[in-house]
């Protein structure tokens, strides 16, 4: 039983598979969604697919799209590396595959959250627009060169289930790194007398 448990890195298998599932899911389901007004404007954000919807028009920003491609390839490479490593965790090059793969889902989640935080802080500081990360708020929009008009919009934002799936994938990959010690313990030093 112990041999089966330590033959593969099960956390790595689960982490690699979940990472690839996260890519597929995130193409259609954003990690974080912001709605302006009554579905007037929607921001669907994820490292894999970020787009904006104004009523029936959906568009992407080319530079963000390039970053999305970077994320897709990064997560895909990470998932594949984790799967290969998990099946053959004791090979000499396996630790390199693990080192290559296990941090990327975590960094993707961290960079995404930090990016959202920075963007909301910039909007608050520069344009005085209060964008919530989670929940709803009514924000007053500035109208330059016009006095006597106040424009307020209801902003609703929430992290979607695909974000939490990505967090799970990152957690499984970290667990795989910790479990690696049991699967492929470092060779103990022999003492020659």
């Amino acid at each position: 039983m112990k041999a089966i448990l330590t033959k593969f890195n099960w956390f790595g298998l689960a982490g690699g598979a979940t990472t690839i599932v996260v890519i597929a899911v995130s193409l259609f389901c954003p990690w974080w969604q912001l709605t302006v007004g009554d579905d007037l404007l929607k921001v669907n954000a994820s490292p894999v697919n970020t787009n904006f919807g104004f009523l029936d028009t959906t568009f992407t920003i080319p530079f963000i799209w390039a970053l999305n491609i970077v994320s897709i390839l990064t997560l895909l490479a990470s998932g594949i590396a984790m799967l290969i490593y998990s099946i053959i965790p004791r090979k000499s090059y396996s630790k390199h595959l693990l080192g290559f793969g296990y941090k990327k889902p975590l960094f993707t989640v961290l960079f995404f959250v930090i990016g959202l935080l920075v963007i909301t802080l910039i909007l608050q500081a520069v344009l005085s627009i209060n964008v919530p990360l989670m929940g709803s708020t009514t924000s007053t929009l500035p109208i330059p060169f016009v006095s006597g008009i106040t424009l307020s919009v209801l902003l609703s934002a929430a992290f979607q289930w695909s974000f939490w799936l990505a967090v799970v994938a990152a957690g499984l990959c970290i667990a795989a790194r910790l479990y690696h010690r049991k699967v492929a313990p470092a060779p103990s030093a022999t003492t020659v007398t």
């Binding site: 302006v36 028009t57 568009f59 080319p62 970077v70 290559f100 006597g148 919009v153």
Partner: protein
């Protein structure tokens, strides 16, 4: 082992560099287009231009029919016709304002939309605004507008909620004038 490490490092670099450099090359003659897609300009044109008569996309509402007055409840109703000149459907969820006597500037009461109205793009719909006179307003009609069948009033401090966007206009931006039946008129 070193070859594996080198290969993985090269993959990491290629994954980051190739898409970004590729996109920069694709947009080398239009770097602004990297950050502002053409759809944003189209949306801005739709919002700012519209088909409105004043070029702002906003069509002022026009009053239709005669205002109705209910003596017992001191309420009146006025119906407006509004054309949605935007290229998208809108829902006017609420509309409110204060009513002042046009001649004396006396505050008479407030008015609000009777029920939310959805208007398809380019279509026209009727909005019914309900107002209530205060007791002081009735006294003002009796003293200040004795013998007048209709009184000119203005809707000020106008606030409207269109599809979740709340717009508040103070007196310097909008005064909607209308004629209402004088509740103190005895005929």
């Amino acid at each position: 082992m070193d070859k594996v490490r080198l290969l993985l490092s090269l993959i990491t670099i290629a994954i980051i560099v190739v898409p970004i450099v590729g996109m920069l090359l694709a947009y080398q003659n239009n770097l602004l287009g990297l950050f502002i897609p053409p759809e944003i300009n189209e949306i801005a044109d739709d919002l700012m231009g519209g088909d409105g008569t004043n070029g702002s996309g906003l069509e002022p509402p026009t009053m239709v029919g005669e205002p109705q007055y209910n003596e017992t409840s001191r309420t009146f109703s006025v119906t407006f016709q509004y054309k949605n000149s935007f290229p998208f459907d809108i829902t006017i969820k609420s509309l409110s304002g204060n009513i002042k006597c046009d001649e004396h500037g006396f505050p008479l009461g407030n008015a609000s939309l009777s029920k939310p109205v959805s208007i398809d793009a380019g279509k026209t719909a009727k909005l019914t605004v309900l107002g209530t006179w205060t007791e002081e307003a009735i006294s003002h009609f009796e003293t200040g507008h004795e013998g007048e069948e209709f009184v000119d009033v203005v809707l000020v401090d106008f606030a409207v909620d269109v599809s979740g966007i709340q717009i508040q206009l103070d007196q310097s931006q909008m005064e909607q004038s209308m004629q209402v039946p004088n509740p103190a008129y005895k005929g």
